[in-house]
């Protein structure tokens, strides 16, 4: 089948994806082969100690290939460069094997690999390098009169050069022809494919369309179901969030009341503490007064005892005085009675005073113990108040988050409803498409 260049151009354009995939495959193969050459060069260097050549030339070739590949990924530049560098690798291998010219066989490997691109022109850089290589040595050997170049192994003659060059040309031409034929065959297939009958094409299109519509229908039904589920869940979620929000409002109110009560308790406690301290001071003053009173009563008791003693002495003196002293004895007896009564009363007062003092001291001790405990209670009340305030702040934040969550949830409900609606639309369209295809 004869295909014109214009047709080829069109086929290439319409089948661009196919050609791109094939080219990328070949680019990779070519790169792997060149990388393998580099590794092979290092391997040879292990035996022949030709590291400078293996790393120097092999490294430069590999670097050039990588750069060309990365810089021109969709161009044929990389392929032409690689083709030329195959030739240079050939020289490297011959040198590394100490002039073993059988390494020329590497030429066939490189040339054959290039057939895969189905572009006969790619053989040209390779042939060009081979031509430069042989021409240079032929020039040195025969034209410059340096027919004594110290080649290894064989006596080089004009025929040898000619034979090698002819071999290169024959192989390159054959491989180029194969590449060309491969290209022609590819275009033949593409053209045949493009000229299938319209009925066959339509049937094929309808078959694919029907399969697609059925698949679309199945998927859209599934999507509708999933969408509905999601919508229900989102609605349920939104309701739950509202309940949570309401509960949180109650909690907030309770916490605020607790905070207020704690504040009031604190104020009362502070006032009470102040009063307690004052009472404690009063009790202490009372104890002190009681002690003073006890001392004074003891003095009265002493005075009464002295008076009694004096009355006794007076009675004795009155008895000595006889009749004249009778009246005085009566007075002395009365005085003595008064003194004894005073002493008895003073003793009673003293007892009462001691009892009062003991009670006051006990009261003082109890107050002293009560005040620090009350201060502790006050501190606890303060902590409760502070904790309530923090709790209130935290709850405010939670409330804000719940409000945001609530808003998003409402939006989700709306979105899911839209998704369900869209899925319904797609499902209907898929049904329509299937019906239309079946009618056709």
């Amino acid at each position: 089948m004869k295909i014109s260049p214009e047709e080829k151009k069109n086929l290439r354009a319409t089948n661009k994806a196919f050609f791109d995939v094939e080219r990328k495959k070949m680019d990779k193969i070519l790169f792997i082969l060149l990388a393998a050459y580099f590794v092979f060069g290092l391997f040879i260097a292990l035996y022949y100690d030709t590291w400078f050549m293996a790393i120097g030339v092999g490294g430069l070739i590999t670097a050039t290939i990588v750069i060309a590949w990365k810089l021109f990924p969709n161009s044929t530049i990389y392929q032409y460069i690689a083709s030329g560098l195959f030739g240079i690798y050939l020289g490297q291998m011959i040198y590394q094997m100490h002039g073993l010219f059988e390494m020329h066989f590497f030429f066939f490997v490189g040339s054959a690999i290039l057939i895969g691109y189905q572009n006969w022109k790619l053989q040209l850089p390779f042939v060009l390098v081979a031509a430069v290589h042989h021409s240079t040595f032929a020039y040195l050997q025969f034209v410059q009169g340096m027919d004594k170049v110290y080649f290894s192994q064989v006596n080089w003659t004009v025929e040898t050069f000619a034979f090698h060059m002819i071999l290169v040309v024959v192989v390159a031409v054959l491989n180029g022809m194969w590449a060309y034929q491969g290209e022609e065959r590819t275009f033949d297939i593409l053209k045949v494919n493009s000229t299938l009958s319209s009925k066959e094409k339509i049937e094929e299109v309808l078959r694919i369309a029907k399969e697609s519509a059925e698949e679309l229908l199945s998927n859209s039904e599934r999507n509708t179901e999933i969408g509905k589920n999601l919508s229900d869940k989102a609605t349920s979620q939104a309701a739950s969030l509202e309940e949570i929000s309401s509960s949180m409002e109650e909690i907030t109110s309770n916490i605020e009341a607790s905070t207020s009560n704690a504040r009031e308790s604190e104020n009362i406690a502070i006032l009470t503490e102040k009063k307690m301290k004052e009472s404690n001071d009063s009790v202490e003053s009372t104890v002190s007064i009681m002690k003073t009173m006890a001392n004074k009563i003891m003095l009265i008791d002493e005075i009464a005892r002295q008076t009694n003693l004096l009355a006794l002495n007076a009675a004795v003196e009155a008895a000595r005085a006889g009749q004249q002293g009778k009246g005085f004895a009566v007075v002395a007896s009365e005085v003595r009675k008064l003194a004894e009564r005073s002493q008895g009363l003073a003793s009673e007062i003293n007892d009462l005073s001691r009892n009062s003092q003991e009670i006051a001291e006990k009261l003082n001790t109890q107050f002293s113990e009560l005040v620090p405990n009350f201060e502790k209670s006050l501190n606890l009340i303060r902590e409760i108040y502070n904790a309530s305030k923090e709790q209130s702040s935290g709850v405010d934040q939670i409330n804000n988050s719940i409000s945001e969550l609530n808003r998003v949830s409402q939006e989700n409900v709306s979105d899911f409803e839209q998704i369900v609606h869209n899925a319904d639309v797609v499902q209907n369209k898929a049904l329509e498409l299937k019906d239309v295809i079946e009618d056709v």
């Binding site: 400078f52 050549m53 030339v57 040195l140």
Partner: protein, 211 residues
């Protein structure tokens, strides 16, 4: 795209130049005849070589002089072949290793390289080379016990000594031991290749600190 192509072209040209340089310094320069010095005086076979003061008494044995330049990759490669000759002929010949100049680098190289018993001669000023008509390395010189020149030339027609029927130096040694006249191997045996005796290290050898 245009800039990319220009930049890559420059890089590619530089790469080709460097690759060409590597081929030249490692191979091509050694496979063409070494340039003959202007003041070179050819010494013919059977001419008397006056080296008794340097070499001492011959003890009735012929003398073998191997010219070695550690800066020359070609000479370095050939050295293993020389060692094989020493092992084979040390009983029949006085074997000498001739070096143009000695410095610490050369000494280090020789200590690493030499594994056979051979006498080292420093040919300062190139007197021995001039006397024997040698201007390149690797080269071999064979002297009769009476200090007349028997053979001066290459070891092989290839630098890698890969063609057995052109092991000229070895063939000449066998010929001398059999009291045959000096053989005439022709152009490939007589015309020197490799490096000159004074050859310094190449740029890349200095750069990479290698011989």
């Amino acid at each position: 795209m245009k800039k990319k192509i220009i930049a890559f072209s420059l890089f590619f040209a530089s790469t080709l130049f460097v690759i060409g340089y590597i081929f030249w310094v490692t191979e091509v320069q050694f496979i063409t005849p070494t340039e003959i010095p202007n003041n070179y005086v050819k010494v013919k076979v059977m001419d008397t070589i006056n080296l008794a003061s340097v070499l001492g008494a011959s003890n009735g044995k012929p003398t073998f002089l191997h010219y070695y330049n550690p800066y020359c990759p070609c000479s370095k490669f050939n050295y293993n072949y020389y060692q094989s000759l020493v092992e084979k002929y040390e009983k029949d010949f006085n074997m000498y290793l001739v070096i143009r100049e000695m410095d610490s680098d050369v000494l280090e190289d020789i200590e690493e390289t030499i594994t056979v018993k051979t006498t080292l001669i420093i040919d300062k000023g190139g007197k021995i080379a001039k006397e024997t008509g040698v201007y390149a390395t690797p080269q071999a010189v064979l002297l009769n016990p009476d200090h007349t020149l028997y053979y001066r030339g290459n070891y092989n027609r290839t630098r890698y000594c890969t063609v057995e029927n052109s092991n000229y130096a070895e063939m000449a040694m066998d010929s001398l031991l059999m009291d045959r006249p000096s053989p005439d191997f022709g152009y490939f045996a007589e015309t020197a290749y490799g490096c000159s005796l004074e050859k310094e290290r190449e740029f890349y050898q200095v750069l990479l600190n290698i011989y």
